[in-house]
Symmetry: C2
Subunit: 208 residues, 2 copies
């Protein structure tokens, strides 16, 4: 559950890779675990928790526990549950160049597979700010879906706007299902997943 770091979680003094003595520390004069690193750890844990349970039933205490830290840390760093969720969205959206092909999607997700379900969180209340934020951060992926699927329909002479919208949803739904499958098969690499996708798509398109 933790990233592979030496410190065991929940040890009262988090005496990890901290310099004692007069050995000049690398960054500025910070104490404990430097904020940037903690934020990164927290974000990773939060993406996992939010992705697994959805925003609504994710627990701040649980995230804190999995990092080996107490709740108030999350609040001093991210302000609120929504703030942390938003930070997750931004972190995910900024963790890769806009994907141009499916392989890129899997590549970005490698190491944070649950991130997909943060972006496509069904527990978000339709009218809420978070819902719009998630929608906004999905933009790159949705654009990819829209352009790819629109092309398929245009080639068929299909101009139906509802068909286009529905097919876009099918595409993201299928990818989401694939990511879910991937999560339950941790040994598969991103490359293997991309290859599998290509194979499956070919099978579907082949003459029946």
């Amino acid at each position: 559950m933790n990233t592979a770091r030496g410190s065991s979680p929940a040890t009262p003094p988090p005496s990890g890779p901290r310099r004692t003595r007069t050995g000049a520390p690398p960054g500025a004069g910070t104490k404990g675990v430097p904020r940037a690193r903690r934020e990164a750890q927290i974000l990773a844990a939060a993406v996992e928790e939010f992705g697994r349970h959805g925003h609504a039933s994710a627990s701040m205490a649980s995230i804190a526990r999995s990092v080996g830290v107490t709740k108030p840390m999350l609040y001093t760093y991210f302000g609120s549950k929504d703030g942390l969720y938003l930070a997750c969205l931004e972190h995910i959206a900024s963790s890769g160049v806009p994907p141009r092909v499916l392989a890129a999607v899997f590549g970005v997700l490698e190491g944070q597979r649950e991130a997909w379900f943060v972006l496509y969180d069904r527990t978000l209340q339709p009218g809420s700010d978070l819902h719009s934020a998630a929608h906004a951060h999905r933009a790159a992926i949705d654009r990819l879906a829209a352009s790819g699927t629109a092309e398929v329909l245009r080639a068929q002479g299909n101009e139906d706007l509802l068909d286009a919208d529905a097919l876009k949803h099918v595409w993201t739904g299928a990818v989401g299902a694939l990511v879910g499958w991937w999560i339950s098969h941790p040994e598969q690499s991103a490359t293997e997943m991309a290859a599998r996708c290509a194979r499956l798509l070919a099978a579907i398109r082949a003459p029946h």
Copy 2:
């Protein structure tokens, strides 16, 4: 939110279609709203709530409120939140013959579209009893997915078991996406959805 019934929710005395006087009531000697009917109402509301928010973040109080009843009713009738969820699963699974084609799926879902997301509830904890129960109740649909997709792969000479499993997931994921799209387009009928599916599938399979 309520099914189209005359009584407005949350009126303290639920004096709906209740016989006063000595007019012989149809069923046995019941009072208020007969248990069977209440259970049906509650189930309908619960399917909607569970489907919308997932088991974890669905609220018993909210379900009760939407029926126009108080919480203890739900508990005397269904025992617990999990009991109600289980009843939903059974109700959904028993609400139609095992579907043989996609059109049948949409037909069964008409009028309780959220039911799909009760069956495929991502907020269920992987090891839990509820998770297994949901899995069991999905059996019919999953079998449909498995057989259909296996055929596609076999026609290609693909014997890979992982591919088969992944493709099955893709199929259910795509249908789930379609149902989600359907929920946000309430005016579409089941027949229209089935037709749309056929159209989209044809478009995908057409020569690029």
